[in-house]
Subunit: 295 residues, 5 copies
Amino acid sequence: MLTCPSLFFPQSFKAILTPQSLLVLDFRGFGLERWLVLELAPQLASQSNSLPFEFTALEAILQHKVNTLHAQLNDVEPVLMDTLESLVDPKILSVDRSKLHILLQNSKSLSELETDIKVFKDTLLKILDEEEIIEELCLTKWTDPRVFEESSLGIDHAEEMELLLENYYMQAEELANKTRELKGLIDDSESVVFINLDSHRNVMMRLNLQLAMGSFSLSLFGLIGVAFGMNLQSSFEEDPRVFWLVTGFMFLGSGLIWRRLLSFLGRHLMPSVPPLIPQVWKRNMKASDIRSGIR
Amino acid sequence: MLTCPSLFFPQSFKAILTPQSLLVLDFRGFGLERWLVLELAPQLASQSNSLPFEFTALEAILQHKVNTLHAQLNDVEPVLMDTLESLVDPKILSVDRSKLHILLQNSKSLSELETDIKVFKDTLLKILDEEEIIEELCLTKWTDPRVFEESSLGIDHAEEMELLLENYYMQAEELANKTRELKGLIDDSESVVFINLDSHRNVMMRLNLQLAMGSFSLSLFGLIGVAFGMNLQSSFEEDPRVFWLVTGFMFLGSGLIWRRLLSFLGRHLMPSVPPLIPQVWKRNMKASDIRSGIR
Amino acid sequence: MLTCPSLFFPQSFKAILTPQSLLVLDFRGFGLERWLVLELAPQLASQSNSLPFEFTALEAILQHKVNTLHAQLNDVEPVLMDTLESLVDPKILSVDRSKLHILLQNSKSLSELETDIKVFKDTLLKILDEEEIIEELCLTKWTDPRVFEESSLGIDHAEEMELLLENYYMQAEELANKTRELKGLIDDSESVVFINLDSHRNVMMRLNLQLAMGSFSLSLFGLIGVAFGMNLQSSFEEDPRVFWLVTGFMFLGSGLIWRRLLSFLGRHLMPSVPPLIPQVWKRNMKASDIRSGIR
Amino acid sequence: MLTCPSLFFPQSFKAILTPQSLLVLDFRGFGLERWLVLELAPQLASQSNSLPFEFTALEAILQHKVNTLHAQLNDVEPVLMDTLESLVDPKILSVDRSKLHILLQNSKSLSELETDIKVFKDTLLKILDEEEIIEELCLTKWTDPRVFEESSLGIDHAEEMELLLENYYMQAEELANKTRELKGLIDDSESVVFINLDSHRNVMMRLNLQLAMGSFSLSLFGLIGVAFGMNLQSSFEEDPRVFWLVTGFMFLGSGLIWRRLLSFLGRHLMPSVPPLIPQVWKRNMKASDIRSGIR
Amino acid sequence: MLTCPSLFFPQSFKAILTPQSLLVLDFRGFGLERWLVLELAPQLASQSNSLPFEFTALEAILQHKVNTLHAQLNDVEPVLMDTLESLVDPKILSVDRSKLHILLQNSKSLSELETDIKVFKDTLLKILDEEEIIEELCLTKWTDPRVFEESSLGIDHAEEMELLLENYYMQAEELANKTRELKGLIDDSESVVFINLDSHRNVMMRLNLQLAMGSFSLSLFGLIGVAFGMNLQSSFEEDPRVFWLVTGFMFLGSGLIWRRLLSFLGRHLMPSVPPLIPQVWKRNMKASDIRSGIR
């Protein structure tokens, strides 16, 4: 009796199948109960087809399980795709943290779904491997006369059973492939998010550096102004041209030094590009356009 | 004698099982001794059930091992989930280092648990593979009369043994799945922590850049003030309107330059968004709200 | 009848093969319909070769599938190589985001292609495993007379069939290897992109730090100027040499302090290199040239 | 003759085992020679036990190999654990580079050890798989009389040989598990090191940003002072209260603006936390304490 | 005829082997042609040994293939090791980008080599699996008389063939292990490079923060100087001591505030270390020496 196939699906239920009855153990949760009463029972009761009872019961259970897995994947997939799409958006500077939370939760659901599919596949494989035993022990064992009749009609239940199981196995395999692809997509998207964030940071850091260069130039030449602001005798106090000379020197000098620092930065960050003299600022801003590639 | 199944669980004990006796070798640690004396011994002594001795002993040992693995996972899991939840909290700027330490320790425990489960599964698989040998050599070999009786009663101990082992194997498999899911969750959470930290850094860097732009503007126009502060003749000394003109120019000029720099930053970081003229500061602060997605 | 090989390719079609007919189910999409009508039908109709029908049909279907997979890989590969080459370009400071988008899309296509190849391989393996059944049931079963003739001619269709399938399997294997290599290349390139971005950032941060050192020196000695600029009696007001002394001290002092800070930075970042006194700035800029290695 | 088990351990030696002799080929390195002469030779010569020669020789070689692997792991493990512990220390800001070098070297040793263990396991598996051949060809083939005697005594060398090999296989398996756990620990520790470094960086960046806010406020209100420092007529020169008014405005104003900026930063980085008004600085410094978690 | 082993090595050639002849198809590239003409042909022609032709031919081809794989690995390995050594050099601040390019290229070569080795191993495995078929069909089938002679001499070609193939398989396995170790080393080195770069960045950021603290202190107390520099009446103008008082307050004040900020930074980054009062700067610089570990 114990050698009948006992289906064990973690997180759902355990069923023992005999030719006359189906024992469903350990079912819990509302949805499952409803399915058992509203769908499985009538389906098994109807028996309009000429197939043996255990065949119908196994098909109903497997179909329900595959449908549940499909539904779970269909729940997770669109949310995940939406979240990933908004995360890899190249225009964003910082990541919306609620999206990350959604991503993490869906990633967890995907892992659990992957485990469920794996367990389902293992269960199917185990039934397929022990097929001969099932054939002999459970399937149509006590209904010999009908079997003999049918086998003369060219219908072989064990063969059909195997095809049924293989069909479900292939559906599970497809689900597993989809899940693996989604996991890969999450990984790839995370890499892209990191590159995006790093890239943004580099752009901001270069702008920051360019401003620091400007501030440094202004400080350097401002020091001249501070020096002349001291209450000390510089002997230039009376010459009206010196004011304009020194002021002009301060502004022009800081401008020139800034420009030299910017062009130094440009050369420093892009060593092999020939030095471009005009429009230093513009060139730095559009540096990403002149990449020639390493081919 | 040596062909009897010898169970070898690293980090716990080694047992040799014969139909008459159970040899437990290499047990160490207080908890195990207590279990051997307080639980295993009475359980084996009671023998209320009609099952052969080696069957009961093996079941007791396997049950104890599975219980230990379950307990270990139940120890690690809630602490790990709590730690991960507090780590992926999007509001935190820097990570609590004590949490990281807890994470690392639990991750290590999880790896060790994974190894334990793997070894347990391998041991079960090996016993299952050598089942025929066990059947012949150890199980109820010397108790032929009873076996013959029972087999006529339809009870097959070898078959039952196999089901028992398979049941424990499935429990171990479930534990392994759980462990793998937890490891995956740790990896995903770490990615989220990295994205969170990077994202925070980018936000701070943009604020820093905006301030650097402000400071630069102030330095640039402050240079005018410094120039007029020099003890040099600028010929404007006597005109009372020049003070207000120059002061106004300094403040307005730095404000305007800052605004231009901020709008340049906005355009530079979000190239495809059309330039927004009013409320530059606000726009930059809420830039993350106007993302339209790449769909 | 159901035991005939039914080829199931997700995302394309399902075919059932009998010696007399080929049933193609679930085909969808324009391209496939065109292939069925324009290429497959004439190919099967011509029958110029003496091979049995199911042999020709299977070869045509497999050839079409392998060609499709080859075409898909050939679509993805050059785009991917181009994108990766431009991404790992060491001269770029920030990553072109459109390239990242292309990378992500192609990476996804590659995953889907990988799944397709895996499914194709599994299907071939399953047919190869069930070969004996196929041999007996489907292939040239009803054409006994011709088979007897041919087998006397030394031609064995089952053997030839197996070689055909193995050949396609090896082509699929080669495609899978190529796909795996491409995935590995994407991962390696991403690492290089990260190192590049990090490296750029470090260079910019060192420049920033050197400028911050300069600004700090200028602020420190500028404070002297500010002090002498106060409207307070310092008793040096009348001495004409003090102006030049203090001004010189300010400029020389900040220069010296800057130089000391730069050399401190150089020593701090490269601890084991002996202190180089002359040309502090140059040394820092070319620090990457004096690495001696850790061998 | 060639069918005798030839043990091939890369990086150590190759041995060919016959019932009469042990050929050790390709041994190199001082330690191995010493072992061969000082330990293996006497061990094989003594032959005090009644076991056949090839049995003793194989056991000696395998024991030596397992001991070597154990010794290698024991060399690597404590150094690695020490290095990892000091690397994941949450208090460190930058990583000691010599530790990184040690980590890299030990990680490499671990990889090589992993390969060695894998090769050892494969060799054992191959001998176990070809057991029947060994049984027939090499083991006690020419000593038929003794074998017959012993087998009547219930001693079966082939069985014992298999148990010996399985024992060594399990030891190798345990070593492999340990190695894999260590590799996992290295990966986990590296993640923790990265999170630590990133976390430190974020804390420093926030401090930097807070200082930049302070500097900006001082610059902004310092501009007023610079304006009044100009040698231009502001018509306030004679009013003695204006000095204190303007000075007070400068200091109070920069203080207020700084406080507003700091509270803006606090709100900006922790959006959902209700605004905390008092003790802005303290709050920012201890922001990591008020996390409420996402549970 | 088609059942003879056909060796298929992607990217090199395909060979069909019969007892009388060796058909080499699809060879391309200069090197291979040269090898065929200059080495393979004479080797096969000489036939000095008594071994059958197909044996010699197979050995020659496999030897050539293994040699090629060895040569490829020997090309890649030293370059890769050199590049990795210079990349993980802890003294470097930014990574030499040309080294990254070399790394990427060698990593790609390694992936291709890995695929080649895998294909070679699969080919050998397939020949080994189909050994009985080969034995019967190809090897010395038509040379019955000699075979009978030799088998009476105790020479078994099929056995020898198997040993030959196993030997080449083990060489390929060793190459595969080496390749895997190299790939692992690349991954580990990349992690170390990242930690190095991050660590450098943190050190620079701390220096930057310390300078920002200094600049902030100078700005704060410089504001006093700016206030006294205003052309407003402060009533202290005539007191000669006030100049020295205010100047001293400015310098001492900024020094003290800086020191307090530095000690705050020190406490903030290393919370559990007791506050160290003397030599603030030194302590910060050598902070990495006072780590006490988490053991």
